[in-house]
Structure formats: structure tokens, C-alpha cells
């Protein structure tokens, strides 16, 4: 399964670049914090850990950095920006392979 390009930094215009459902699904799948903007203009930075659009009032849930959980109805959302670092884009395995290759190429290794 090939990993798609990271969405880090993405700030989609809902209804133009993607539908609200699509943006929420992408944010749910994203392993970094996002910034959610409500229709009233309030902003919350946190990790979007749950969402359900198969219920009467679709909702999402986020943990903020202090560990408090927040629930928003889809109808309250104006924008979601992918502002946090994508922790799944870390290249730990590639770094390990590189370190091993470098160690192997050293005369004293």
C-alpha cells in the first residue's frame, strides 16, 4: 500500500477543493493536529480522533493539547486546516536503513 503525499499545510476551501465530508474524513485520517474554524469564527487546535456522518446529526470529536475532548456538529464547521506536523510522515525506517548503510560503508564498521 503506497502512502499518499502528506496533507501537512493543506488549507482546503470547503465546497471548492473538497466537500465537507471529504475534508473531515481526511482530517480524521491525518496523524497530526488540525485547526478547526467554526461558522462563528472560533478556532480550536487539536487532534481530530473521531467522526460519524451516518447519524442524524453528523459530528466530529477532537482532543485539544490539554486533553479536553470537544464535539462539533458538521453544521458548525466553516474550515479545517492541516496545521500540525504529520507524525506519520516521519521516515524512521528510511533513517534506519541509511544509518545501517553508513555504518556498513565505514572502514571500522
Amino acid at each position: 500500500m503506497a502512502e499518499e503525499e502528506s496533507l501537512e499545510g493543506w488549507a482546503p476551501v470547503i465546497g471548492v477543493e473538497a466537500t465537507l465530508d471529504e475534508v473531515v474524513d481526511r482530517a480524521f485520517d491525518y496523524r497530526g493536529d488540525v485547526t478547526l474554524v467554526t461558522a462563528r469564527g472560533d478556532e480550536l487546535v487539536g487532534y481530530l480522533y473521531n467522526r460519524d456522518r451516518h447519524v442524524a446529526q453528523p459530528f466530529l470529536q477532537m482532543f485539544d493539547a490539554d486533553g479536553a475532548s470537544h464535539t462539533f456538529r458538521y453544521s458548525e464547521i466553516s474550515a479545517i486546516r492541516f496545521t500540525g506536523r504529520d507524525t506519520a510522515a516521519a521516515k524512521s525506517y528510511e533513517a534506519w536503513l541509511r544509518r545501517k548503510a553508513e555504518a556498513g560503508s565505514r572502514p571500522d564498521a
Binding site: 500500500m1 503506497a2 502512502e3 480524521f28 496523524r31 497530526g32 493536529d33 487532534y47 480522533y49 473521531n50 467522526r51 460519524d52 451516518h54 470529536q61 482532543f63 493539547a65 490539554d66 486533553g67 500540525g84 506536523r85 507524525t87 506519520a88 516521519a90 521516515k91 524512521s92 525506517y93 528510511e94 533513517a95 534506519w96 545501517k100
Partner: protein, 340 residues
């Protein structure tokens, strides 16, 4: 077969009790993840990639015990993250053992000797350390992306056994695994004196750092057929022989995603330990509102297509054992003769 008789009896009576009650979906093992934090970043793991504020957090013991009670499974597996980094691990395990739950504490063993020295655990038939070992030294250190971890784990296994603990190993296999080296690994684990081994193909986590070495179904069958062909009498596996036969391609099973439900910081994970499609607030909600028909091989869901992981198929193997006389006979024959 190395599962103690008392544990086999507990599981057998539990499963038969569920079937007699006509319960269609019941849990066998609760996968309890008290934290996501880990002291390794393994190539094939997609469990720990979260922002720092989430990695710093963990469930309370009370939340863990409430989940165990709500779920009702007779066995509790504590993976993670690295559970020995959970500050309350001693208290949690003690409480679970008091409740006579069979606990598998899944650890990379880096901190095990330190925790044993600190007196955090007491040997019990209900507690088994399930040590992550992905092969012999070279293979394991590569799988965990750090040199020296295999040797640390071996020393920790020796120390835990010396102190009278139950010790098993859990091994995840990826494409490129050498069946002959794995047979040497089984010998080495038996020489160490572990109670039993668990093996499973890895799941192709989309978030894992290494995306190139996940096993496809046919390739997995070939690997397990070669690896487990003519198994040595001294090899002991801490899992259903029917599951091992499934890995070898001798059974065409469907996944039982509710068999090993997962509880963590986010709630009850839908639909299984491997896929994260959402979270339910209660176990009842998980069972009643998850669209189970969307998952498993026959659903056509591409995320399930190549999955043969123990958390979905070991419960199927157990159901197979207790679902018919034929299944029961196959299990008994494999257990008694050691032939797969």
C-alpha cells in the same frame, strides 16, 4: 500446544456459554491500549504516530478496569505503545489478576528487567509477558530499527523465567522473512525456555514507516507452509493450531473483527484492532452500531483483502473449534499430535 489447562478450560467454558446463550457476537480477548507512547519506532508499526500531546496522555486504571468489565472477555491483552511505560502498569495488572483475567502484557522488554527489579509484578498463572521478538538477532533488530534490542529482550526473558513468570513471545512476519531462519528462531526460543510462541503476518498499516514489506495473502500462505512444515515436537505455540493451519492455507476462514475489540484513549475502536474507522462510546454501541458487513475478506473491502492477522482470525479459529464436532476433532488431533 502450550496454553495451560486452566486457561483452556476458562476459554472453552466461556465460548460454550456464549454459544448456549445464542450470542452472535462476543469478545474473546480485549486489546487494551492504555497509551500510545513507545520507546521504539518499529518499521511495520502504525500504532504510535500521534502528536506529542496525545503520546503524553494515558488512560487511568479506573478507565481500563471499566472497559474490562464492560467487555467481559476472559483474556486481556495489553499492547500499546509500550505498556511498561504506563506509570500504573503494576496496579493495573494486579487488579486484572485479582479478577482472574488472563493477561498478556505485550512488551518489547527493554524496560522489563528494571520493572521486575522494582517488584512491580508477582508471578501468577493469570499473567504472561508476551515478548515482541520478530526473529533472530539480525531480523529482530532490523524490525525494531535499533541494534541491541534482541539481546536485551533475551536477557529479560531469562530473568523473567528465573523469577517464575510465564513468558511467551509474539512474532510478526513480513515479506522477505526466511522460513529456515524462522525455524532456527523457534528452536532458539524453545532453548530459552519460553512457554509458547505466537506468530502472525503483519498488517499493512497505512501509517507504518515501511510500506514495502507487508505480506500479501498468497505469499503469506507460502511462507507459513514452508516455515511450519513438519513442525518439531519441541515447538510450542501459544495459539490455536487451527489458526496456524489457516496461515498455512488449510482453512478458508472469514474474519471475526469483534473477537478482539480494542479500547484506547479514543474509546472503542471500529471495527477492529487494526483499522481505525471511528470510535464508539461504549462496547454495546460498538457491537450494535458497527456495520460489520463492510469488513472481512468477503466484504471486498481492500483494507481487509490481505489481512490474516491473529486478532481477526484467531477468534474465527476458536469458533471453528467449538462450532462443530469436526472442528473440535481437528483441534484435538493437532493439539495432541503436534501436527499441523
Amino acid at each position: 500446544m502450550s496454553v495451560p489447562l486452566s486457561q483452556m478450560w476458562t476459554v472453552a467454558t466461556y465460548v460454550l456459554g456464549q454459544r448456549l446463550r445464542g450470542r452472535e457476537r462476543y469478545p474473546l480477548v480485549l486489546m487494551l491500549e492504555p497509551l500510545f507512547r513507545c520507546n521504539l519506532a518499529c518499521a511495520g508499526c502504525g500504532k504510535i504516530q500521534y502528536p506529542a500531546h496525545l503520546l503524553r496522555r494515558h488512560l487511568t486504571v479506573e478507565q481500563c478496569l471499566a472497559a474490562v468489565k464492560e467487555c467481559g472477555a476472559p483474556m486481556v491483552s495489553i499492547p500499546g505503545g509500550e505498556p511498561l511505560m504506563y506509570p500504573e502498569i503494576g496496579r493495573l495488572v494486579e487488579a486484572l489478576v485479582e479478577q482472574k483475567k488472563y493477561v498478556y502484557l505485550c512488551t518489547n522488554a527493554i524496560l522489563l528487567e528494571e520493572k521486575l527489579d522494582a517488584g512491580l509484578f508477582t508471578p501468577s498463572k493469570y499473567l504472561s509477558f508476551s515478548i515482541h521478538m520478530d526473529g533472530l538477532r539480525e531480523e529482530h533488530d532490523e524490525a525494531v530499527c535499533r541494534d541491541g534490542v534482541f539481546d536485551v529482550a533475551v536477557e529479560a526473558i531469562r530473568e523473567a523465567l528465573r523469577r517464575g513468570f510465564r513468558v511467551t513471545t509474539n512474532t510478526t512476519l513480513f515479506d522477505g522473512a526466511n522460513p529456515l531462519r524462522m525455524r532456527e528462531f523457534f528452536d532458539a526460543m524453545m532453548d530459552l525456555g519460553v512457554e509458547g510462541m505466537m506468530v502472525s503476518p503483519g498488517y499493512s498499516y497505512a501509517k507504518a514507516p515501511d510500506q514495502e514489506h507487508f505480506l500479501r495473502r498468497q505469499r503469506a500462505h507460502e511462507l507459513f507452509r514452508t516455515m511450519l512444515a513438519d513442525p518439531k515436537k519441541r515447538w510450542r505455540f501459544n495459539q490455536s493450531p487451527i489458526f496456524l493451519q489457516f496461515l498455512m492455507g488449510k482453512h478458508d476462514f472469514e474474519c471475526t473483527p469483534w473477537g478482539n475489540p480494542t479500547y484506547n484513549l479514543f474509546g472503542w475502536q471500529r471495527p477492529c484492532y487494526l483499522l481505525q474507522e471511528g470510535y464508539a462510546a461504549s462496547f454495546k454501541e460498538l457491537i450494535e452500531t458497527t456495520r460489520w458487513e463492510d469488513y472481512g475478506k468477503r466484504s471486498g473491502n481492500p483494507k481487509c483483502r490481505d489481512c490474516m492477522v491473529h486478532c481477526g482470525y484467531e477468534p474465527t479459529a476458536v469458533n471453528h473449534t467449538f462450532g462443530s464436532w469436526r472442528g473440535f476433532r481437528e483441534s484435538v488431533v493437532a493439539t495432541v499430535t503436534g501436527r499441523l
